[in-house]
């Protein structure tokens, strides 16, 4: 699949999610994030308590005081009460934190050593090592770890360190998969290639670039692994497979749970400590991914927030296009006009990044209007706006889309009624624009009947006729096929058929030939021209290809950075471009043509 930045949405227009590694220290950034700061403070407390347990509870976890048997909280000397053997619960929890911290350390060390190393090696050298580790990973990940830990207990008896080391092995695949996929991505990127050419040794390349790229995801993952480690340590101890003499949060919980009828309070404390610590680590992981990779989290903005964003977005200065003479053929009545259209996307820091700055556009009956510009200049955003099919994060900041004088943006019902019925859409990438799970006939039939209610047989015969018209010789067979069974050129013909079938007044075509072979491109352009002429269709043709413009369009609007900078008839644009940018665009495209010859 080709990834045209204009079709992927906000990342493209708002600048790619920054692959630059973090520059400031992670801790520093976390402390500025309230959620992160609170989590870090809590975890620091747990670690300090574990370290200083001998000072905080000098008598150790196992001193019994018969008076404190099943004592409720706030009993003098026993702030959290006592357990069924008269041991102080607070003291036991303090000592228990040592085992928790130790367990987490073992799991993290084992799984990072195994998983990250294997992931780096497999991602960088691939080959047989990757195959073997891949199989082992699949095996490990298809097993419920706890069952194996239980089996281990039968072998070693209560040995929580060994159990945690095994759990480290069992969970290492999550690091392996993460690191491997990142390394594979980075490996193919330019800078590693460049480093290779320069002649750095493999190890230096890994050290410099790849480790830097995997750093943030590994840190985030570690937070979640730590949470899992605490859960499993507590769980194993709770099952009674821990060291019965030692104090572990899980063991404390198990003992208290067995006495829940006598002293329910004793259950609360260990349950609370375990849950809170795991929760903190999960929240820390989320905070970390906010700080380290802000683009990775949910992008759905609530309707209220959207309204606020639209209202607060500052207006960027509008550039009036230089207009030249318009070709005679395009003097019919205006079908669609766009007025003062502004489109933006929410940014990570709570602002709006405006990508289309107050654009005006008129399309007349029978006119093919080219919208040209570089990738990211905002062409597709305008095309999508006219159909109300912008990505869901997109914000229409202002403007009107008038179809025969009625504003479609103002009334979503009106937009729905126009879409597919009066305005048809031809996409760029034919294969990804057909639903892979349904047959061609199914999709065409439903689309047509949604737009124009009619009997199935009538719809069918109309489509068969039209499929022949767009150049498909055996329509009945093609309608029974799934999208993966036809070629890209054929798929584009099917999509054109789908757009034209409901007899629209206007077609919005978004780079309709970019993804096709050169020979097929010419045929599809010819088809579009003929259809436009036969049916008196108006057409907005989005393209970056000036050859297509010269071939097909009557009028041209040149876009740059979200503004239409020049508009004129096609002859005028090519013979006497007024804007420096248009001249530049023309000369660079001529250079490309020369190079291709």
């Amino acid at each position: 699949m080709t990834l045209n930045p204009e079709t992927v949405g906000p990342e493209a227009v708002g600048g790619h999610p920054d692959p630059e590694p973090v520059k400031r220290s992670v801790i520093g950034q976390l402390l500025r994030n309230p959620q992160g700061a609170i989590c870090l403070a809590y975890l620091a407390l747990v670690v300090l308590v574990a370290l200083f347990a001998p000072l905080l509870a000098p008598e150790g976890p196992n001193v019994t005081d018969l008076d404190a048997t099943n004592a409720p909280p706030l009993t003098p000397g026993h702030p959290l009460g006592g357990d069924s053997a008269g041991r102080d619960i607070l003291d036991r929890l303090i000592w228990g934190s040592r085992q928790t911290v130790l367990a987490v350390l073992i799991v993290v060390v084992v799984s990072v050593l195994l998983g990250v190393t294997a992931g780096l090696v497999a991602g960088f050298y691939r080959g047989r090592f990757e195959t073997i580790v891949g199989f082992v990973t699949d095996v490990i990940m298809s097993l419920p770890g706890i069952v194996l830990l239980i089996a281990l207990y039968a072998l070693t008896g209560p040995n929580i360190s060994a159990a945690m080391a095994v759990f480290g092995v069992l969970i290492a695949p999550t690091y392996y998969r993460l690191v491997r996929s990142i390394v594979l991505g980075v490996r193919n990127e330019l800078y590693v290639d460049a480093a290779r050419v320069v002649g750095l040794s493999d190890m230096r390349i890994v050290g410099r670039h790849v480790l830097w790229a995997v750093r943030a995801p590994v840190i985030i993952q570690t937070s979640f692994i730590m949470a899992a480690a605490i859960g499993i340590e507590a769980g194993v101890s709770f099952l009674g497979l821990g060291d019965p003499a030692g104090a572990s949060w899980g063991t404390i919980l198990q003992i208290s749970f067995n006495g829940i009828y006598n002293n329910a309070w004793a259950v609360l404390w260990p349950a609370l400590v375990i849950s809170l610590t795991i929760l903190t680590l999960v929240l820390l992981g989320n905070a970390l991914s906010d700080v380290l990779q802000s683009s990775a989290r949910s992008k759905i903005v609530s309707p209220r927030r959207r309204e606020a964003l639209v209202a607060s977005a500052p207006r960027r200065e509008k550039v009036e296009p230089v207009t030249g003479p318009v070709t005679a053929g395009s003097s019919g009545d205006v079908v669609l006009s766009v007025r003062d259209l502004r489109v933006g996307y929410p940014t990570a820091d709570g602002g709006v990044n405006e990508v289309v700055h107050g654009v005006d556009l008129d399309v007349r009956r029978g006119e093919i209007h080219g919208l040209v510009g570089e990738s990211g200049s905002g062409k597709s955003q305008i095309a999508f706006s006219t159909l109300g099919i912008l990505p869901r994060e997109a914000l229409v900041l202002s403007g009107r889309v008038l179809l025969d004088g009625e504003d479609l943006l103002e009334d979503s019902q009106r937009m729905l009624a126009a879409r597919g019925r009066r305005i048809g859409y031809i996409p760029q990438e034919p294969m990804s624009n057909l639903d892979p799970s349904f047959t061609i006939g199914d999709q065409l039939l439903y689309g047509l009947r949604a737009a124009r209610p009619m009997a199935k047989t009538e719809a069918r015969s109309r489509l068969v006729e039209l499929l022949v018209r767009v150049g498909i010789t055996d329509p009945d067979r093609v309608m029974r096929l799934y999208p993966h069974e036809i070629s890209g050129g054929m798929a584009q013909r099917v999509l054109i058929c789908g757009a034209v079938a409901s007899d629209p007044d206007l077609i919005v075509a978004d780079e309709p030939t970019t993804a096709l072979d050169v020979t097929v491109q010419a045929e599809v352009l010819e088809l579009l021209r003929e259809l436009s002429r036969e049916r008196g269709l108006a057409m907005i043709l989005v393209t970056h290809n000036l050859g297509v413009v010269a071939d097909l369009c009557d009028t041209v609007s040149v876009m740059k950075d979200g503004h239409i900078v020049e508009r004129a008839g096609v002859e005028a644009i090519f013979s006497s471009p007024q804007q420096a940018y248009t001249q530049q665009l023309l000369s660079s495209s001529r250079r490309v043509e020369l190079m291709e010859i």
Binding site: P144, A151, L279, V282, F384, R392, G420, Y482, G498
Partner: protein, 313 residues
């Protein structure tokens, strides 16, 4: 299509052999240790030696594994070291309990997480935020702690449901339902939290695909786009989520059976492990792996059937 399924099957069998062999060799490598554990700390070395021979632990590891494997294929998983009961018959009463627990939970998880995940993805807004919140809580609080809370509130404080025990549906259907309500709920919360979250991202993924935009542009109404096209194309990742959930439930059931004293496989494994009843533990490991592999195979089969590319080939 059949080729890839057969490949999967062969792969599954390989996994089965590898895992059982590794577990087996770990457990049986130390024959004297096992005999010692069975006899207790006070056993003389002669007694231990005699026990090793009696249990057949003196034979080469490969011979022991081969005997165990050939037996296992015929449904004979050996005898318990303690009671002399056959492992297969011990498992026969335990497996249905565990299966009842996880299958009921899985079905409910599927229904609830599809509803929640799809709503959150399509609607966004507060539904989405509530789901995110539940997802964090549900994944953070371990199932056994949720179970304890449920026991305390709904069985001890206000005794609505039984705190422990299992009633077979043959004995009393309402009793069976009542005995499963709390265990299933305890497992369900974590499972739904995880699965709904992943359904949500699967649906968001599909919603962002090009053909959805084209369908909308063709004037097809949103409800139809979501219910027919988006759901259909999210089904394969959804099934993967469910088979992973099943795996998680098998692990979670071990804890839940412990809290609610359900006589299932997990409880059997824990009590057998505590007394080093190795053949019993080995039997539960085997059954667990077989369940996992069957579920994975069924998942692959369903995904293959759903995928026109694989089907029409």
């Amino acid at each position: 299509m059949w080729l890839s399924l057969i490949k999967n099957l062969v792969r599954s069998l390989a996994v089965l052999l590898v895992v059982t062999f590794v577990t087996f060799s770990l457990m049986f490598a130390n024959g004297a240790g096992i005999a010692q554990a069975v006899l207790g700390l006070g056993a003389t070395s002669e007694a231990i030696q005699a026990k090793v021979v009696e249990l057949g632990l003196d034979q080469p590891l490969l011979v022991q594994y081969w005997n165990w494997l050939t037996g296992a294929v015929q449904g004979d998983l050996g005898m318990s070291f303690y009671t002399g009961e056959s492992v297969s018959s011990g498992l026969a009463t335990r497996v249905p309990v565990t299966l009842a627990l996880i299958v009921v939970t899985l079905l409910l998880t599927a229904v609830l997480s599809v509803i929640l995940g799809v709503t959150a993805a399509v609607r966004g807004g507060w539904v989405d935020r509530v789901l995110q919140f539940i997802a964090v809580l549900g994944t953070a609080v371990p199932a056994f702690i949720i179970a304890i809370a449920l026991v305390y509130v709904l069985a001890i404080r206000w005794p609505v449901f039984p705190a422990t025990g299992y009633v077979s549906p043959d004995v009393s259907f309402p009793g069976w339902v009542a005995s499963l309500v709390l265990p299933v709920t305890a497992l369900l919360i974590g499972a739904v939290a995880g699965a709904a979250q992943q359904f949500r991202s699967a649906v968001l993924d599909t919603l962002g695909r090009d053909f959805v935009r084209t369908l909308r542009a063709r004037g097809i109404n949103e409800r139809y786009v979501v219910f027919r096209h988006v759901l259909r194309n999210s089904a394969a990742p959804g099934l993967t989520v469910l088979s992973l959930t099943m795996l998680g439930l098998l692990g979670g059931a071990v804890f839940i059976e412990q809290v609610f004293a359900l006589p299932g496989m997990g409880q059997l494994a824990v009590s057998a492990a505590a007394i080093s009843d190795v053949p019993m533990v080995m039997g539960t490991v085997l059954v667990t792996i077989v369940i996992v592999l069957v579920v994975n195979f069924l998942g692959d089969l369903a995904i293959t059937i759903l995928n026109p590319k694989a089907r029409t080939r």
